[in-house]
């Protein structure tokens, strides 16, 4: 048991986090602390260990060594309490195709222990400007529509930390813009801390307040966007900064 209150602690703390798949060291001792209220962009090439980190933080898999805490709660020791505080949008989000958006959300709201699940589902759809999707079957949705309902299922129980795994994958430009606006609103209006795995550096520059760069399972860089741009004044874009950080690893 930890003595820290979930309300006082940092949103996310990784301490010497390691993970191994078969003989492959996917995470090699990551140390990271993300304060509340941040929009954190987790960058790295394919196979660098970003999704594994999210899978550990969302209690889907256990770390091989080290610890991971969400709001001060150890994900291994108190997974049920961690799950009450988090929302999760996996990459390639899919839901129950035979059910309507509202039925899907109501189902997940019930499982999250929301008191008035139907009202919560309707309110969330309304908040995310997709109330028109409520009565439609998810099986008929486009990628963008699925993503919006996916975000709705991740936030309808009002999580403290929201994990987004490659949220822009497969979205058209208007879908990406809508997602960006949603992330900004969730962060600024509801105070949700957001941890986002992504390859879209242009989006990271627009929405994130801090970034971390993972390279072959090692965290090689972490700082606020403000400090990062100040540190590399000759780079016009985050893409250039990212390339230089990776090259220096």
């Amino acid at each position: 048991m930890t003595n820290a209150s979930p309300l006082d602690s940092a949103a996310i703390e990784l301490d010497g986090l390691r993970h191994r798949y078969d003989m492959d060291d996917v995470l090699r001792g990551i140390n990271l602390s993300i304060p509340r209220g941040e929009v954190f962009g987790f960058l790295g090439h394919n196979g660098s260990g970003k999704t594994t980190t999210v899978n550990i933080l969302t209690t889907l898999i256990r770390p091989t060594a080290g610890s991971a805490r969400v709001c001060g709660l150890d994900v291994e020791r108190e997974p049920m309490r961690v799950r009450q505080l988090i929302g999760y949008l996996p990459s390639d989000i899919r839901m129950y195709d035979h059910m309507t958006a509202l039925e899907n959300l109501e189902f997940f709201a019930r499982l999250s222990g929301v008191e008035r699940p139907r009202s919560a589902a309707l309110e969330t759809l309304d908040y995310l400007d997709c109330a028109d999707l409520a009565g439609k079957r998810v099986g008929t949705f486009s990628t963008g529509m699925r993503q919006r309902i996916g975000i709705a299922q991740a936030v309808l129980h009002k999580p403290v930390v929201l994990f987004l795994d490659e949220p822009t994958a497969g979205l058209d430009p208007s879908g990406v813009r809508h997602l960006r606006e949603t992330i900004q609103r969730l962060n600024s209006e509801l105070g949700v801390t957001i941890f986002m795995n992504t390859h879209q550096l242009s989006e990271v520059a627009k929405v994130c307040t801090s970034i971390g760069v993972l390279n072959h399972g090692e965290l090689i860089y972490t700082d606020s966007i403000e400090n990062t741009t100040a540190r590399f004044p000759d780079e016009a874009s985050l893409e250039g900064i990212y390339v230089r950080v990776e090259a220096g690893a």
């Binding site: 889907l60 799950r83 035979h98």
Partner: protein
């Protein structure tokens, strides 16, 4: 408070399971086949029963008119007309239960919703219970429909509405179908959850079904000399009971192997119980219900044991179920 939250989550999962199964076309087709052939079987039996009762009544009338006061009792037991229905439940009901179990796992894997479930504050026990309760509710609905059709066919076509004791025996036989089909449901879940691919799990469960429901009971039946001649081998040879027992005493090992083979089959226990309850077996006719249940306690215990062991395996499967697909990208 915690208890009510727990039960609310279990009920939510059970309702979800029930609705998903009810909307599945493959399952609906299987259920339709079962209900249709069960109805035809009971219908034909009821028509035959109706004509045999008419024959019997003509015999009684003729006997009375010729001055005979004592007539033979009706040689038919109305419940025994349900033999076909219970045989279909034994064979197709088990397949339906396996498909239910397979779908329970396949649905979450193929729709990629397993990760969404596993990041909610619900325990593996709640998931296992919710899923099992939903499946049992589907099975109970199926049995209710089958039972109602049987009672209606016997009453309307056969002209013999079941009396309360007969209704009770039919209800008990149908209730025994729940652990029987429940065990096959658990088998479907366990093998699908542990198999490398979903189809491998389903195939493995169907191979076990083939062995347990069709092959093993058939081997046991074939090894029973009494089953080879109508009316029984010894009776057809004119051998009396004491002599029969003397002969059988020389084949105790053989008889034990044969009986053990049958005992190993869940289907055989189900068959023995339901055939006892529905008067299919002559030797149980005239037994009181208490006496019958006492005679069948071994089969009840086996059915319950299979259900419990496979239920525990089902829970274990939910505990160990990986959130991520095998070989998935790290």
């Amino acid at each position: 408070m915690i208890g009510s939250t727990n039960s609310r989550i279990v009920v939510t999962l059970a309702r979800h399971e029930y609705r998903a199964a009810a909307r599945n076309r493959v399952l609906a087709a299987l259920v339709l086949v079962l209900v249709a052939i069960t109805t035809v079987s009971v219908l034909i039996g009821a028509i035959d029963y109706h004509s045999q009762v008419a024959d019997y009544q003509r015999y009684v009338a003729a006997a009375r008119s010729s001055g005979v006061t004592q007539t033979a009792p009706l040689p038919l037991q109305v419940l025994s007309l349900l033999r076909g229905a219970f045989e279909y439940l034994e064979i197709i009901g088990a397949i339906i239960a396996i498909v239910l179990g397979y779908m329970s796992i396949a649905r979450e894997r193929t729709s990629n919703t397993l990760m969404l479930l596993q990041t909610r504050p619900i325990t593996s026990m709640q998931r296992a219970l919710g899923s099992a309760l939903g499946a049992l509710a589907i099975i109970a609905t199926l049995l209710l429909v089958t039972g109602a059709i049987a009672v209606l066919c016997l009453g309307v076509i056969g002209g013999d509405w079941l009396a309360p004791p007969e209704l009770l025996k039919l209800t008990l036989a149908l209730l025994a179908t729940i652990p029987y089909m429940g065990a096959f449901y658990c088998l479907g879940v366990v093998l699908t959850a542990h198999a490398r691919s979903l189809s491998n799990g389903l195939m493995a469960a169907l191979v076990i079904w083939l062995a347990v429901v069709l092959i093993i009971p058939q081997v046991g039946d074939t090894m029973d000399p009494d089953n080879q001649v109508p009316g029984g081998l010894f009776q057809s040879l004119g051998v009396d009971k004491p002599t029969e027992l003397k002969v059988l005493a020389k084949f105790t090992t053989y008889e034990k192997v044969r009986n053990d083979l049958e005992e190993a089959s869940l289907a055989k226990h189900y068959e023995r119980f339901t055939f006892g309850m529905t008067d299919v077996k002559d030797k149980y006719r005239g037994f009181t219900l208490t006496h019958l249940l006492h005679e069948k306690r071994n089969d009840i215990a086996w059915l319950a044991a299979y259900m419990l062991v496979l239920g525990a395996a089902l829970h274990r499967s939910y505990q160990r179920q990986p959130a991520l697909p095998r070989g998935g990208t790290p």
